[in-house]
């Protein structure tokens, strides 16, 4: 998972310069390198079902604006800002706001749409991560969902390694606390999984019974 940050940055710059000249392969290279970051930032803010479409949309928005990027080596932070703005635009669209709010109110849609207990469990845990303060949830999702390392998150997003480390540490503590509190009869992550399973099962069953 680790790549030399220096190499990473210089490669980005050359890819950006080539992409500016219309080199689609170079832009594809940037996509391959940054899609997980964009995906993670979006997943921290919008319903999972809409994230894939938005990822592509973010890159399509970024492509014609590459010339506005003064320092090609800062492509990552620049793209992260575009991504966050895109998530904000998504929320400004009234229908979308309703959709995501309903989802976030327990992420019920995602839990309900989950066909298996592990899916439901994952949706519930994701909802807990999304309930964390913004800085923590974004960093945690990049680490736990997208599989990026702390140094990689720092290089890609432009955050300092120290900030990423603090976000991971504090975010993880808060997540653990929430999971423990939500675990009926248990105060540890080890018991969370089983109780979550039954809770998610109960929820799905309850929904099913209530459906006409």
């Amino acid at each position: 998972m680790s790549t030399s940050p220096a190499l990473q940055t210089s490669d980005d710059a050359s890819l950006v310069l080539a992409a500016r000249e219309g080199d689609r392969t170079a832009f594809g290279g940037l996509y391959a390198r940054y899609a997980r970051m964009v995906h993670g930032i979006l997943l921290a803010r919008v319903p999972a079902s809409d994230v894939d479409d938005l990822v592509q949309d973010v890159f399509l928005r970024a492509l014609p604006r590459l010339r506005d990027l003064r320092d090609a080596a800062k492509f990552g932070p620049w793209l992260a800002a575009i991504t966050r703005n895109r998530a904000n635009d998504y929320h400004r669209q009234t229908r979308a706001v309703a959709a995501v709010t309903e989802s976030l109110s327990g992420d019920e849609d995602e839990v309900r749409a989950s066909s298996t207990v592990p899916d439901a469990e994952a949706a519930v845990i994701l909802a807990f991560v999304r309930g964390l303060p913004e800085t923590y949830r974004e960093t945690l999702i990049l680490r736990l969902v997208e599989g990026m390392t702390g140094p990689e998150i720092a290089v890609r997003t432009g955050l300092t390694p120290g900030s990423v480390r603090v976000n991971l540490h504090r975010g993880m503590l808060q997540l653990r606390e929430k999971l423990s509190q939500a675990s009926p009869g248990g105060a540890t992550w080890s018991t969370f999984s089983n109780s979550r399973n039954s809770a998610a099962h109960g929820k799905i069953e309850s929904r099913r019974r209530n459906q006409p």
Partner: protein, 357 residues
């Protein structure tokens, strides 16, 4: 927690983090590199370049300087005004129709507004709203609902639901978020629930995740995920039960809790409840210990002991005289939530109430 593993995946793998990675990994980005259109990044002249190329550039620069001067003067003047701190409150947004915060109608396109302490949010039969509860959760408000924000300070968030339906999804510490209804107070002990109140003030609480406490005076009920609990004005919370209990069990319980039955009829209801109870219904039977008369308590004890044997430190005599410590120990044995969370909240709530009087 292994900090090194969390940071860069090095060192001894942390099982807790590994499990989260595995569980959440199903959301990971999987897409292939798409075909991007043949679009060369076109250079848009920057704003200042367009401006400087204009023959009006000198005049515009002068006008800009004038505007900046006026703006600076205005800011100075404004900054000397007394500071008006916004009232505490929560953001409300419309999900459908036109919910109202006091006289302020909130349309689909008018963004968010603020629900201040003491203010009322009302939805009609077509409108729905969402409340962002500070940093601790969200509340979805269904049509035909009326609620007030009673307190919104840090560590204590409180709504009053006069009528209608809300879905609360809360990640605050247990006890930090409460909802008053005409017949009971709902205390969040972690997670998600739906609360309904009809025009008579009767209510129903359904927990979907975590557990919730329901209280009126000395009458209390704990409602874990999958369970529901009704409440009635002047009576308070009924006995909670799991929704998958048999219909005869639920009917007998409803009569036992709220019907104006004779003692004989209540005895018949209780017998039916005990006879129909499954192990999972220990939730209900435990609550009945404190709700039946002394003459019936022994039967309830025996049934509960069959379903979930009392733990060490709990005696029949102690339960028959409703020893609180023993009741709590037995509750914890049901593995539905740690009752100490509730007791902690109860103490702080009582102190808070006393200080207000």
């Amino acid at each position: 927690m292994n900090e090194d593993y969390l940071w860069d995946g090095s060192g001894e793998p942390d099982p807790e983090i590994q499990k989260l990675e595995t569980t959440l990994g199903r959301f990971r980005h999987q897409g292939q590199v798409p075909e991007f259109p043949e679009t060369t990044a076109t250079a848009q002249p920057r704003f200042w370049q367009r401006l400087m190329s204009s023959r009006w550039s000198f005049g515009l620069a002068a006008a800009t300087a004038t505007i900046l001067f006026i703006a600076a003067f205005g800011i100075l003047h404004w900054s000397q005004k007394p500071n008006t701190t916004p009232l505490p409150g929560w953001d409300v947004e419309s999900l459908a129709g036109t919910p109202r915060v006091e006289s302020n109608a909130l349309g689909n396109t008018s963004g968010t507004t603020r629900l201040g302490v003491g203010q009322t949010l009302v939805t009609d039969n077509r409108s729905k709203a969402n409340i962002s509860v500070a940093d601790i959760g969200t509340v979805n408000v269904e049509p035909n609902t009326r609620l007030r924000l009673v307190a919104g300070g840090s560590g204590h968030s409180r709504l009053a639901l006069d009528r209608g339906t809300i879905h609360a999804y809360i990640w605050a510490l247990p006890g930090e978020f409460t909802v008053d209804t005409p017949s009971a107070i709902a205390v969040d002990l972690g997670c998600a629930y739906t609360l309904q109140v009809d025009d008579s003030g009767a209510g129903l609480l359904r927990t979907t995740l975590g557990w919730v406490g329901f209280k009126l005076e000395g009458h209390e009920a704990f409602i874990p995920a999958g369970a529901v609990c009704a409440t009635r004005p002047k009576v308070g919370p009924g006995t909670p039960y799991f929704e998958d209990a048999s219909s005869s069990f639920r009917e007998a319980l409803s009569k036992f809790d709220f019907a104006a039955d004779t003692p004989e009829e209540r005895g018949t209801d209780l017998r039916q409840i005990l006879a129909e109870s499954r192990q999972r219904d220990a939730l209900t039977i435990w609550h009945l210990l404190a709700r039946v008369g002394e003459s019936d308590r022994g039967r309830v004890y025996d049934r509960l002991a069959t379903l979930v044997p009392p733990p060490s430190g709990v005696t029949r005599d102690g339960i028959l005289r409703l020893d609180q410590k023993m009741l709590d120990l037995w509750w914890n044995q049901l593995d539905l939530g740690d009752v100490s969370l509730w007791r902690t909240w109860e103490r702080s709530w009582s102190q808070d109430k006393a200080s207000r009087q």
